[in-house]
């Protein structure tokens, strides 16, 4: 139980964000109305995905210097878990966009970038599956991962800012810090992000542990 405190913390934080996220007072804004509460559930998906990809790229670099197979496994399973959160982010965003921007896919640069970066990480998983030899697979996919991560950051955070975008904080729109995130919302939003990130890490470690057991069984 002593090692599980962060899993309990994650559960409590997200549960807190579900309850307070629906009940706390939010700013009354046109177009958004009550859907502003989606911020507590849609945005943490993306933050979790980015943190998981970051963990993955760190372990890819570690693998290249150490050659330790476990580092490679951690890198893959982080991406596997990150892709799930990426898809959750895409789907929740499509529902939200449908009711506020009037179209599930309004060809916003941020949406297209998110789709491209998700495809990029799917390509990483396909690339791994297409290579038979283990060490070669680990090294090639680690290098791919190191290139994919900065491209993902550019796609998600830099390119949408250079053009007009519907997302806040992009293309001249004021960002989170502006009028649409008051102190009341911060009380819910930050715990939600931390909670979901921890849950994402938890899922990734579970996948990693199962994969390790599978490998052990195969070698026996």
């Amino acid at each position: 139980m002593t090692k599980n405190w962060w899993k309990i913390l994650a559960s409590v934080l997200v549960l807190y964000s579900i309850i307070t996220g629906l009940l706390f007072e939010v700013p009354h804004l046109p177009v958004l109305h009550e859907t502003i509460r989606n911020l507590y559930f849609h945005v943490p998906m993306w933050f979790t995905m980015i943190i998981l990809y970051l963990i993955s790229v760190i372990y890819s670099i570690k693998y290249l210097s150490s050659g330790n197979e476990e580092h490679d496994l951690l890198a893959v399973e982080s991406v596997n878990a990150g892709v799930i959160f990426g898809f959750l982010g895409l789907f929740t965003g499509m529902v939200w966009a449908n009711f506020t921007w009037g179209d599930p896919w309004p060809n916003d640069p941020k949406l297209n970038s998110a789709a491209i970066s998700t495809l990029m990480y799917l390509a990483y998983l396909v690339l791994r599956n297409s290579l038979e030899e283990e060490q070669k697979r680990a090294r090639i996919s680690a290098i791919y991962n190191i290139f994919a991560f900065p491209v993902m950051i550019v796609l998600l955070f830099i390119l949408p800012r250079l053009t007009d975008s519907l997302h806040p904080g992009n293309g001249g729109n004021p960002g989170f810090g502006g009028y649409d995130l008051d102190n009341n919302m911060r009380l819910v939003f930050y715990p939600a992000c931390i909670g979901w990130i921890l849950i994402g890490v938890w899922v990734a470690t579970l996948r990693f542990r199962i994969r390790k057991l599978e490998n052990k069984q195969l070698s026996n």
Partner: protein, 70 residues
Amino acid sequence: MKISTIFILSLLLLVQNVMAQNNAPVEMANAMRDSGKIYVVVAVMSIVFIGLIVYLFTIDKRVKKIEKGN
């Protein structure tokens, strides 16, 4: 009139009576009914989330058990 038709008519009257009663505001001391019933949604989402977390914990436990077995 046949007995059955009388029966049906009286049943219809009864139903109407009940429906008329429903139109009157019924005060219930139930917090779940307050303010657009948002608390119900909170309860449902909490149950879904708690269920998923319990499920994750059981997977965690099972993996730990297998890890110890090896």
